[in-house]
């Protein structure tokens, strides 16, 4: 059996590209698309893979990360999938990649003009927990009626004393659309603001694509008297000593030993002595 270039047939890719163009034209707005069955179950990044498959060309260099790491099974198999079906070069270096597909992290290295970051999105609707009716949440977006989201932040502060959820902290895009940043740590949210790279988001199960064009304002929701203030573990990286990177806590033995290391493995390797 033979597959089309980058697995998806040309008609499907055209349809997805149309959705992407519309998404770029309306920053933060979720555009429905006719998601295709992919050779992976939902939850393995099918939305991101379909977006990548629709934009990738032979001259692209692809990097894939899962929670910041290039070497997890999932990242490795997606990279191999595109190396095989699209004949592209792959890399683990952020600086060398033209397309970065990611699950749950933004690289520490500042992304450059011309680069594209593709996020895998499990749940695209930021209002879903508060307003499960799709017709109603669509209407709230249309009317920019986001008081409900502010209520959720209010509840967070009232209960936990903080406004920043650790992950998936909602953002306002271009002062108009409320958007889920996907489950990246709140620490990464500021990187989205006026990012020189194009940001594309694909949700396979929910069949939605959305986008943030380069240099677009992305503001994390907060209160005037509880400004957005994401947490970073108060340690330097145990490998490279970085004090400004997002850290993973790693258990080192079975007697409670642990250490903090950069979650962005490429960043850490570049810095390590």
């Amino acid at each position: 059996m033979t597959y089309s270039y980058a697995f998806l047939d040309e008609a499907t890719k055209r349809m997805i590209r149309r959705a992407i163009l519309k998404a770029v034209a309306i920053p933060g707005h979720q555009v429905p698309f006719g998601a295709r069955e992919m050779p992976l179950p939902y939850g393995w990044g099918t939305g991101g893979i379909q977006v990548t498959a629709s934009i990738i060309g032979r001259s692209d260099v692809l990097k894939v990360i899962d929670q910041g790491a290039d070497d997890t099974t999932n990242a490795v198999s997606i990279r191999r999938f595109f190396a095989r079906t699209a004949g592209v070069a792959t890399t683990t270096h952020t600086a060398e990649a033209s397309i970065i597909q990611t699950r749950h992290r933004i690289p520490e290295r500042v992304l450059q003009p011309g680069q594209i970051i593709v996020y895998q999105v499990p749940m695209p609707e930021p209002l879903s927990r508060l307003e499960p009716r799709v017709v109603e949440s669509t209407k709230l977006h249309a009317l920019a009626d986001y008081g409900l989201m502010q209520v959720r932040l209010y509840e967070d502060i009232a209960r936990h004393g903080r406004s920043a959820s650790a992950y998936n902290h909602p953002v306002m895009v271009n002062g108009r659309y409320l958007m889920s940043p996907s489950p990246i740590p709140a620490f990464d949210n500021p990187k989205m603001d006026r990012m020189p790279a194009l940001q594309l988001f694909g949700a396979g199960r929910e069949k939605r694509i959305y986008a943030v064009p380069p240099y677009t304002s992305v503001k994390s929701l907060d209160f005037e008297d509880h400004p957005f203030d994401p947490i970073r573990a108060p340690h330097p990286c145990a490998i490279c000593g970085a004090t400004d990177s997002y850290l993973d806590e790693i258990v080192t033995d079975d007697v409670g030993g642990r250490m903090f290391v950069c979650s962005d493995t490429d960043h850490c390797e570049e810095r390590a002595p």
Binding site: K139, L143, D145, G147, L148, Q150, V151, Y154, E155, I157, A158, R159, S163, D222, F223, E224, D225, H226
Partner: protein, 252 residues
């Protein structure tokens, strides 16, 4: 006399063969309390929903502050509903967010209007809890831990926090014990007087109408059969149906 705050004329609405509203006209002036009474199925709730822009009539017009509510965009109507109007439902579950704390429930309208200061929102929420006679230490509790009467008072606080001009209430004391009803009615009466609100209240309870309302509108089979000042309607009813309504209450 000044212009009415809201004025509706010729409202007609059919549900299949049922004529829920039949050429209904009604006006309410700033600061006025109008009670809508009538038997079950007479169209009271339907009228409130049409007046508040939540349902569209087949014919007729609703003017609010001189503006045609039917001709507004949905965005415009929603803005009115969360800023200048308020709606208090019979069932608190329809009017409260049960998964959100009392403070969050009260603060929602403030936040929807763009208030982004947590401390100020919390201060208003606490002061409104006090106004509706709920202990301030319940601010972070969920509504389901409240009694039925407290839930209704919370719904009122949540609605009044933005100091709207016009409140719609659909049997706000409906599911409550008699003694709880009396306390809630007293509270509504005090708040309405203090804030100078205009209120359209649907009620089955003639005694409540007498306590609260300046004017009474009597509905039957989707029509307004009688209306007038409260004392006049209750003490000297003209329409045979109103006479029946008043005497059956007195007999009860």
């Amino acid at each position: 006399m000044s212009a009415p705050l809201m004025q509706a004329t010729g409202l007609t609405l059919n549900f299949g063969r049922i004529r829920a509203l039949d050429d209904v006209g009604i006006s309410i002036w700033p600061g006025e309390v109008v009670a809508i009474v009538g038997e079950s199925g007479s169209g009271k709730s339907t009228l409130l929903r049409v007046l508040s822009g939540q349902a569209q009539a087949d014919a007729g017009q609703v003017l609010y502050d001189g503006q045609d509510v039917g001709a507004m965009t949905e965005a415009g109507r929603r803005r009115l509903l969360r800023a200048e109007w308020g709606f208090v439902h019979q069932n608190p579950r329809d009017g409260l967010r049960m998964a959100v704390s009392a403070g969050g429930n009260i603060g929602e309208r403030l936040m929807a209007q763009g208030n982004c200061h947590y401390g100020n929102i919390r201060k208003s929420a606490a002061s409104w809890l006090q106004k509706v006679e709920i202990e301030v230490d319940r601010l972070d509790d969920l509504p389901r831990t409240f009694s039925g009467g407290m839930q209704q008072r919370l719904q009122i606080a949540r609605t009044l926090v933005t100091e709207p001009r016009l409140i719609f209430m659909d049997e706000p004391t409906g599911g409550l014990d008699v003694s709880v009803q009396a306390r809630l009615l007293d509270l509504i009466r005090a708040l309405v007087a203090e804030l100078g609100l205009a209120v359209l209240i649907v009620t089955h309870d003639i005694a409540a109408a007498r306590l609260l309302a300046h004017r009474i509108v009597v509905m039957r089979h989707g029509r307004v059969v009688e209306e007038g000042l409260t004392d006049r309607v209750l003490d000297d009813p003209q329409h045979p149906y109103t006479q029946l309504l008043v005497t059956s209450v007195l007999a009860a």
